[in-house]
Symmetry: C2
Subunit: 221 residues, 2 copies
């Protein structure tokens, strides 16, 4: 589908112009009126509902955290959600405490192992990742689930524990209206090509590296 992007460009130009301090109140008002028209045009143009394949990648923070935010929104709408964690971190009691508020809506499945450098056994890691993917497939195929979060699956792909062809094939089994989020650094290009919404989280400054600050509750876990 070809889409007219002119309203986007106009919206951005108007946003930029509105920040000029040399505008009179009346000029500002006219720009905002025009901006409102453009926004209405944008919303009219985009009327398609579609289940999305969403990728959060990059070396910055916020990949899993933003996915968690989408999980919360979906639960707020009363949708059923499944989370499969492919590379388990050490921290999760706070997240579990939060998610336990929706026992009927949320399914949570963790791979049940530590980071890869904890196990040091590649064959076992591969087996666990494959088991997690089989579990994920049962959620992906199930039309009762509106959102499926495959947390850190990109890392399992990068490590070669899972094959991207298999993941792409599995995603074709998704019902039309459900969303799948795949997080983790190093998302393979074939997955990015297939995805609808791809965001790269880029690290600009991080206190862990620059100031010797440790991972802290509420922020990192």
């Amino acid at each position: 589908m070809e889409l007219n992007n002119a309203p986007d460009l106009t919206a951005e130009r108007l946003n930029e112009e509105a920040t000029s301090s040399s505008l009179s109140e009346e000029q500002y008002k006219r720009k905002m009126e025009r901006r409102k028209e453009v926004q209405e045009q944008r919303l009219a143009d985009r009327n398609l509902e579609k289940g999305l394949i969403i990728v959060h990648t990059g070396n910055g923070k916020g990949k899993t955290t933003a996915a968690l935010g989408m999980v919360m929104r979906s639960l707020g709408h009363g949708y059923r959600v499944a989370i499969v964690q492919f590379i388990k971190g050490a921290w999760e009691p706070a997240e579990k405490a939060v998610l336990s508020h929706w026992p009927d809506l949320l399914q949570f499945h963790a791979m049940g192992e530590g980071f890869t450098w904890e196990t040091q056994d590649r064959q076992r890691d591969i087996q666990k990742a494959e088991q997690a993917w089989e579990k994920a497939l049962t959620f992906i195929r199930n039309p009762e689930f509106k959102l499926i979060l495959l947390d850190e699956i990109n890392v399992a792909l990068k490590l070669g524990y899972l094959k991207v062809e298999n993941i792409l094939a599995g995603l074709t089994e998704k019902p039309e209206n459900s969303h799948v989020i795949l997080t983790g650094r190093g998302a393979p290009q074939a997955l990015i090509d297939k995805a609808d919404l791809v965001t790269e989280m880029t690290l600009i400054k991080h206190p862990f590296r620059e100031q010797g600050v440790k991972a802290q509750p509420g922020i990192e876990f």
Copy 2:
């Protein structure tokens, strides 16, 4: 504080090397043993607890969503959290439904106006933004709040509704151990310089633009 970043570089090199399919199982195991040692070194080096100034900026998705994820984690730890919304969106019932699970821990304050192109009155917008900032300051100063989310405040800064000097001065009143998150595109450089943790969310692909897909419940609101 000068920090030794050699372990970070070693960790990244080992991560990369571990993805090589030509490694024997034994070589893989040794790399992961070394990786584990490096990780222990990294954690030993970083032992500082510190309240953080966190900025989520960039043109991509996930700035508010990742902040919402941090809010959820903090609530999961039983911390008090305040949210001040500077540029109110049209959508929030689902988020409010989620947040209503923590009536004792969470304070929510919305500017009470629509997007700037809805009001078209700059003086009124400026006044509302200043009121929201005054409210935010009461939370920032209050040591009972562990996390304060100033949602979309960067947009108010970019539009000139608030002055960055005032925001930076206000942030110095934050107690040592509390965190403040400032979201929105166009974060001013002076704020980035002051922040501890800065992540830029970069749009790689977006279905709203590319496929005419509208904002959807559970994902965008």
